[in-house]
Symmetry: C2
Subunit: 168 residues, 2 copies
DNA sequence: TATTGTTATACTCTATAACTATA
DNA sequence: TATAGTTATAGAGTATAACAATA
């Protein structure tokens, strides 16, 4: 059945850093999403909650800028979080067009659990490495990320839309 | 305007291997796609061409199994490649339901160019690291990939559909 | 005239099922 | 009855434009 298929050299892809990063990155993102699912959160919601918690009261546009996403996308994300009772849109003190975004008490509790979940996940990812290798790997990845011009903590999977461009 | 936004601690995400892998992986995949675009190829086409070249004459189903994708997806990919004159569907010698897939002469030339392009890209990705760090990084990533159960050279971004499940 | 939030629409991707011709 | 290839349809996700309220 498979007798006439010659088994040639192993694919060289598995030896390329570019392929390994893409392969591992995709798989890691996928597994992290599964890891977070029991909390009812997707990675993008987790990331947004983290950013909101770093400075409550900001407008949706400010949050969108911080995450490098389009404000239209932010509306949908905020709807998700508000529907789940995790954030509140209050009136902005100085701009009546804008909303000031705050976390609810429930969100603070959930965020703490999500971070513990992320810690557990991190340990799983790094399981095969000893302490020295873990430190080294993270340092190497950070150097690559810096060289690639990636802003710390901003996931490019969220920043599809060109937030520079105006409506027009 | 932004005076009342306290700048708190930097996001801890940038120190997590899981986040860095996902962030770098996504960005790397995106940039590789741009790198390949001048050749008129997407990464998935490149990957498929590589697999076809490793053993010509296989059926679409065999190729789909090798890449862990659903045969329905394979039809679309093969259509793309055939429309571009890169592959041929010939009649299978032993099974008249199946097609035997072959590369054209044009595909061999394009594949060689694509691999050179991938080499250039690899050098760009690894630019900030010296030789020892490059070797170490690749070894570390390979260990993580193996621990995660990722088959060498198979990108999980392609294998969405559950190729185990039958039609029904 | 520009900006914030919102909504609507179109477009791309993926998943699923169903069909045909063979086995 | 099962399998290879194909096609069609529905759903999720993203991009773009347009609108009302406010600056």
């Amino acid at each position: 059945m498979a007798a006439d298929i010659p088994q040639l050299a192993p694919t060289p892809l598995a030896g390329r850093a570019g392929f390994l990063l893409s392969q591992l990155g995709f798989h890691t993102a996928q597994r992290f999403a599964e890891h977070l699912a029991p909390l009812g959160l997707q990675p993008k919601h987790f990331g947004l909650l983290m950013h909101v918690s770093r400075g409550e009261g900001r407008s949706q546009q400010q949050l969108a800028d911080a995450l490098a996403i389009h404000r239209n996308v932010m509306v949908g994300l905020m709807d998700d979080l508000e529907d789940r009772g995790l954030t509140e849109r209050r009136r902005h003190p100085s701009d009546r067009r804008a909303h000031a975004v705050y976390l609810t008490a429930a969100a603070h509790g959930l965020l703490a659990r999500a971070q513990r979940s992320a810690d557990t996940f991190e340990a799983e990812v790094l399981a095969p490495l000893d302490e020295a290798d873990r430190t080294h790997l993270i340092a190497l990845l950070q150097r690559l990320a810096e060289h690639a011009g990636l802003p710390a903590g901003i996931h490019p999977g969220l920043q599809r839309a060109d937030s520079q461009a105006a409506d027009r």
